[in-house]
Amino acid sequence: MSDTDSIETAASERTDGTAYDVPPDRSAVDCEYCGRPFAGESLLALHRGHAHPTQITESECEAFEDAYDAETGQLRRFRLKSLTALVLLYFGLLMVYALVI
């Protein structure tokens, strides 16, 4: 729990006012530059790339690019699902209106 406490102290000192709270049953990976906790290595890699682009090492930069590419693949699948949901919603409502009115 002492880890959690130190994270919360660090959070309260941050200027942007974002508080963090790691549940006791979860393990977090902390950013070595600012101490923010993340749920996994890929989120940490993305954070390092976005928040500390000038400080990170070459291997961290590669980790960021890998994580970014992996996420791009996920995003593509999400967009397909999203488009399907939009089409279903639109035509679903259209059908219902056609039946009801």
Binding site: H50, E71, L75, F78, S82, L86, L94, V100
Partner: protein, 463 residues
């Protein structure tokens, strides 16, 4: 004149508007022939409420899905970034004019309220407060910018009186304003404030005494920033507006809703105020529905005193709306797989709800305001005459503006929440997933609100 009776026309208009949209989408002959909207309205009498409400929820969900296609960080951040400073000539003179207008209006409300005609549609106090201020001025705060700090007559008066300057320390934060807002709305619903000028003037006087006392004991700024619910309403609405004061004190134009992406709320207590603002607009319409009449009659039949009924429902409904929002903030930690604390999530995403509240405000009050413009101008030019003013009859299409208000509010809200999510989370998928619970909450609020405005209007029971 029954201020809260306004939604009736809106209800019909929502039906008309949704139907027009649907009819257009289906390209049915009725729209293709440019048949009047009256024709479309007759067509829609058959749209059942459940379908209308579901369509509203669907529109919110679809807006979110569309927003989720924008995942380029620079692009998302650039949407709200534009600023253009507006040079204000003779700023001091304008401020003095605004202060004079505010003071004159307050004096007129008190004098004519106590001594003027007792007919509500002829009395300056009733018309200036309800049509001019609560409907008309409120609309300017989110459509243009918040001018209340200069117009506010109590601030002007308090500036002239020395202050004891006690430090306002109350650990409860904005909860005092939340209680104040709920109390004002309760008073507005149960008392004949819109029908009896004397009661209204007494209420304004009581509010003046409390406000000025607060300003004298504490500091004027502290009072209006921390306690006064009215100043807080306008300040929050002002965050939606395209004009606002930048950090350096200059007046600037920005993209509407850009203010909602800033971290403007201090804590969960201020989040509660935002949710209360959303809830009171809904409650205002809810008490005029037949369903409420049925529930109220049943509950009073069980032995609940009618005096407790309204405050209890007001607080319970607020609790429900607020509980759902907090639940969404907690759920977002799971869907986004983040360790950002729930109170921070609640705080950062709550400002987007202000755009939705503003949208509902347009739907509830625009028609009401326009209909009363002749009465308002007559009462200002001839304050002591009992007149029989015209009431503008609004064309059927007018309600469409209200629909666009509700939809526009949602678009602004979803865009703002999307930008905040991208600002808060390192992952793009993570940012989108963080929105799931909040979108569910928004869909719920929209469906409740649409259901309320499409109900026929009845006189609220027991008041």
């Amino acid at each position: 004149m029954g201020r809260s009776r306004a939604p009736n026309a809106v209800g019909q208009a929502v039906t008309v508007g949704t139907a027009v949209a649907v009819v257009a989408a289906l390209a049915r002959p009725v729209a293709a022939h440019g048949g009047t909207l009256g024709g479309a309205a007759r067509e829609t009498a058959t749209v059942p409420t459940w379908l209308l409400v579901a369509t509203g929820g669907g529109v919110v969900g679809a807006s979110f899905l569309l927003a989720s296609f924008a995942t380029d960080r620079e692009f998302v951040a650039s949407i709200h970034a534009g600023r253009r400073e507006i040079p204000v000539p003779a700023r001091t003179v304008l401020v003095w004019i605004a202060r004079a207008v505010g003071l004159t209006a307050l004096a007129a409300v008190l004098v004519v309220g106590f001594t003027g005609p007792t007919d509500a549609l002829s009395n300056t106090a009733v018309l200036v407060v309800w049509a001019g201020w609560w409907a008309g001025f409120s609309m300017t705060t989110y459509l243009v910018g918040n001018a209340w700090p200069v117009l506010n007559p109590w601030r002007t008066l308090a500036a002239a009186v020395p202050s004891v300057g006690r430090t306002y320390i109350w650990r409860g934060g904005a909860w005092a304003s939340v209680a104040g807002l709920l109390a004002l709305v309760w008073l507005e619903v149960v008392s004949p404030l819109a029908d009896e000028p004397r009661t209204l003037a007494t209420t304004v006087l009581a509010y003046s005494v409390v406000t000025l006392a607060g300003c004298v004991v504490y500091e004027t700024d502290a009072w209006f920033r921390s306690v006064d619910p009215v100043a807080r309403v306008f300040r929050y609405y002002g965050a939606v507006a395209p004009a606002g004061i930048d950090d350096d004190g200059s007046l600037a134009l920005r993209v509407p809703g850009a203010g909602l992406t800033d971290d403007i709320l201090g804590g969960v207590d201020e989040v509660a105020f935002v949710v209360a603002l959303l809830w009171v607009t809904t409650f205002d319409g809810l008490v005029a529905t037949p369903a409420w009449e049925a529930v109220a009659t049943t509950v009073v039949g069980w032995g609940l005193p009618p005096e407790i009924l309204y405050p209890a429902a007001l607080v319970a409904g607020f609790g429900l709306f607020f509980g759902i929002y907090l639940l969404a903030a907690h759920a977002a930690r799971e869907t986004a797989d983040t360790f950002v604390a729930a109170p921070t999530l609640a705080r950062r995403f709550a400002p987007s709800l202000l755009a939705i509240a503003a949208g509902y405000h347009v739907a509830h009050f625009l028609g009401y305001f326009v209909r009363l413009i002749p009465a308002l101008s007559l009462s200002v030019t001839a304050p002591f005459e009992t007149v029989n003013p015209e009431v503008i009859v609004l064309p059927d299409w007018f309600g469409l503006i209200g629909i666009f208000g509700v939809l526009g509010g949602h678009v602004l809200a979803i865009a703002a929440a999307h930008a905040v999510a991208f600002d808060l989370f390192p992952g793009r998928i993570q940012a989108i997933r963080s929105q799931y619970p909040f979108i569910v909450a928004m869909v719920f609020y929209t469906m409740v609100s649409l259901w309320v405005v499409t109900r026929p209007d009845v006189q609220p029971p027991y008041i």
